[in-house]
Amino acid sequence: MLANQFSMAHRLQWVYLKLFIALLACTTSAAAHEIGTTRVSVLFQERQSYDIEIVTDASALIDKLKAMSGQSSSANPAPDSMQNLLQDFDDKFRQRVKVTFDGVEVHPGIAYSVTPGSGNNSAPVATIRLTGQIPPGAQNFTWTYAWTFASYGMTVRKAASENPSTQWLEGGQRSTPFILAARAPAVGRLSVARRYFSLGFTHIVPLGLDHMLFVLGIFLLSGRVRSVLLQVSAFTVAHSITLGLTMYGLVTVSPRIVEPLIAISIAYIAIENIFLSELRSWRVALVFAFGLMHGMGFAGALKELGLPRSEFLTALLTFNIGVEAGQLAVIGAGFLLVGWYCANRPWYRSRVVVPASMMIACTAVYWTVVRLGL
C-alpha cells in the first residue's frame, strides 16, 4: 500500500514537472496559464481502439457531480466509497465528456478508480479510463472535458512507443481535431457491411447471453412454428425501431434503466413459459414491448463500437441484420437440439420447457438483482 502511494505521488510529481517543462517550452508570451491538477492522456492502438485516461482530483470532481445533481456537498468519504460514488454518477459524468471521431460522438466504456493521496494533505486521485473502438476509417479525433475549471494538458499518442503531442485546453474547451491518419484508406461499403454484420452476430452469439436466453425463452413456449415466427417477428420489428431511433439520437434512455429491464423481460418470459403452453395475443404484445428495450440495449453496444460517419446507415442496417442472424442461429440450434425430435412428445413441457425456463428465470432474476445494484 505504502509502496503504491509512494509510486503514485512520485508519478504525479513527475507528471507535473513534465507539464511545467512542456508549458515553459511552448509559452511564447509573458502570460502563463493557470494549470490545474487534471491531465488527460489519449492512446490509439493500431488504429483500432482508443484508451483515454483522465487523472484528476477525486474530491473536486465528486463535489461538482453532486452539485450538478442537486445534492449538497458533505465530508469527503474514503477512496473506496468515492469510487462507488463516481460509478453512481456515471450518467451525469458522461454529460460533460465528449469523444468524437469525424464529428460523430461515440459512447465509450468508462471505468473509475480512486486511490488515496500521497501525504497527509494530499487529496485522493481519481483515474478514469474511457475505452472503445475507433470507427473504421475515422480520420480525426476531438475531445471535450468540462469537469475542470482550470487549464489542463492533453497528450495524444498514436502508438504506445510514440512521443506524445500535447494540447493545452481550458475546462470545457473542445480540442482541435487530432489527425489519426494522414491519408486514411477509403472505406468500402462492402467491408463496412461485413464488419458490422459480424459485430451484430457476435453481439448475440456468443457475447449476448442475455439476448440468447430471451430468444430461447420465446422458442420454448411452444414447439409450433407459428408461435416462434410471430414472437420473433414482433421482437425484431420492435428492437429495430428503438435501435434506429436511439442511434439517430431521437430516443435516449440510460443503460441503468434499460439493462435491468432487459433482465426483467427475460425473467418474465421464462416464468410465463412455466404457466402458459399456448401463444396468446398479449404475449406477442409483451414480446414487442420487450423488444423495444432490447433495441435500446443493442444501441448501447453499437454506440460503444462506434459507427463510421460516411457509412452510418449501412453499418446500422448490417448490424441489425447481424443481430437477426444471431437470433435465428439460437432458434435454429434450439430446434435442432430439442425441437426437432421432442417438441410434439407428451413429456416435452414437463422435462424440457419447465426445467429450462426455470433455469433461465433464475439466471435472469440474478441479473436483475445485479443490474439494479441491490
Binding site: L17, E34, T148
Partner: protein, 271 residues
C-alpha cells in the same frame, strides 16, 4: 427574504440563481486553507482553488505565476512556502494566536474569449463600463484578448476572536478589505467590506458574496463612493466575497484588456 438582504436603499442587490451554466472561462479564484481555525504551532496547508459557485479545482503551486504569496500575523509578513506542482500550493506555521491574513497575488494569465462569451462575462461580473467601451469602439462582435491577475486573501483565526483583530491591507492592485473581524460578527450581523484599486477606493464596482451552504444564492452589491459594501452574514460556514475590475490594457502587449480578480475567504464556525 430579499428585502432583508438589502441593508439600505443605495445598494443595488441581486441574487443570481442557477449559475451552473456560467461562462466557460470567467472563473473565480480563492484561497481555501486546510483549516480556518488552527491551533498555535499548527502547520496549515494553503490550497488555491479556481472554479465557480465555490466548486473549485486545485491550483498547484506554480512559481512562474506567483507575484506574492505571503501571510501576515502580529509579528509581520512571512512567505507561504511550498514546492512547485504541489497541492496545497503552500504551507505556513501559526506562530501566535490571532487573526492571520493570507495573500496570493499572481502574475497575469492570458485568455482569449469569443465575443459572446466575453460579453456574457462582462455582464455577469457587472463590468458595464467595459461593455459600453467595447460598444463605442465597435468591438462588441469581436473576440477579446485579456490578461487577468489574481488578488486573493483569506482570514484564518487561531484562538478566540476579539474586536481588536482585523484584516490587513496587503497592497494588492485590487483588494478586498474586511473592515471588521468577521469572526466577531454575530449571526445575521453585517460585515463592512471595502474594495480598493491601487490603494484607492473603487466606487460602483460589483462585489459578490456567497456561502458554501448555498453558493447559488449569491448576494451582489455595488460599492458606494467610498468603495464600501455591507454584507449580512446570514449563514455560518465558509464565505467567499469577490470582485472583478477591468481596464483597457496598456498599449504594446498582446492583450486588449487587463482584469484583476480580488477575493477574500473566511469560515464562520457553527454555533
Amino acid at each position: 427574504m430579499l428585502r432583508r438582504l438589502i441593508p439600505s436603499t443605495w445598494w443595488f442587490a441581486l441574487i443570481a440563481i442557477g449559475m451552473s451554466q456560467a461562462p466557460l472561462l470567467a472563473h473565480d479564484m480563492w484561497i481555501e486553507p486546510t483549516t480556518f481555525s488552527p491551533r498555535v504551532g499548527e502547520i496549515v496547508g494553503v490550497k488555491l482553488r479556481v472554479g465557480q459557485d465555490m466548486l473549485g479545482d486545485p491550483l498547484p503551486r506554480d512559481s512562474s505565476l506567483i507575484k506574492q504569496f505571503l501571510f501576515e500575523d502580529g509579528q509581520g509578513s512571512k512567505p507561504v512556502i511550498g514546492r512547485d506542482g504541489n497541492d496545497p500550493a503552500g504551507f505556513l506555521r501559526v506562530a501566535e494566536s490571532g487573526l492571520l491574513v493570507i495573500g496570493y497575488r499572481s502574475n497575469p494569465s492570458a485568455v482569449e474569449l469569443g465575443p459572446e462569451k466575453f460579453n456574457e462575462y462582462l455582464k455577469d461580473e457587472g463590468l458595464d463600463d467595459i461593455a459600453a467601451l467595447r460598444a463605442i469602439r465597435n468591438q462588441s462582435g469581436s473576440p477579446a484578448h485579456e490578461a487577468f491577475a489574481r488578488c486573493a486573501k483569506s482570514l484564518v483565526l487561531a484562538g478566540p476572536p476579539t474586536d481588536k483583530q482585523g484584516d490587513r491591507r496587503l497592497g494588492f492592485t485590487l483588494e478586498l478589505l474586511a473592515e471588521k473581524n468577521p469572526y466577531t460578527i454575530p449571526n445575521g450581523g453585517e460585515l463592512p467590506v471595502r474594495l480598493t484599486y491601487e490603494n484607492r477606493p473603487l466606487a460602483g464596482a460589483l462585489v459578490v458574496a456567497m456561502n458554501r451552504t448555498n453558493p447559488l444564492e449569491k448576494v451582489a452589491l455595488r460599492t458606494d463612493k467610498d468603495g464600501r459594501v455591507r454584507f449580512r452574514l446570514a449563514s455560518r460556514g465558509m464565505w467567499l466575497i469577490k470582485a472583478v475590475h477591468m481596464i483597457p490594457a496598456p498599449p504594446g502587449g498582446n492583450a486588449e484588456w487587463t482584469s484583476f480578480w480580488a477575493s477574500i475567504t473566511f469560515d464562520l464556525p457553527k454555533m
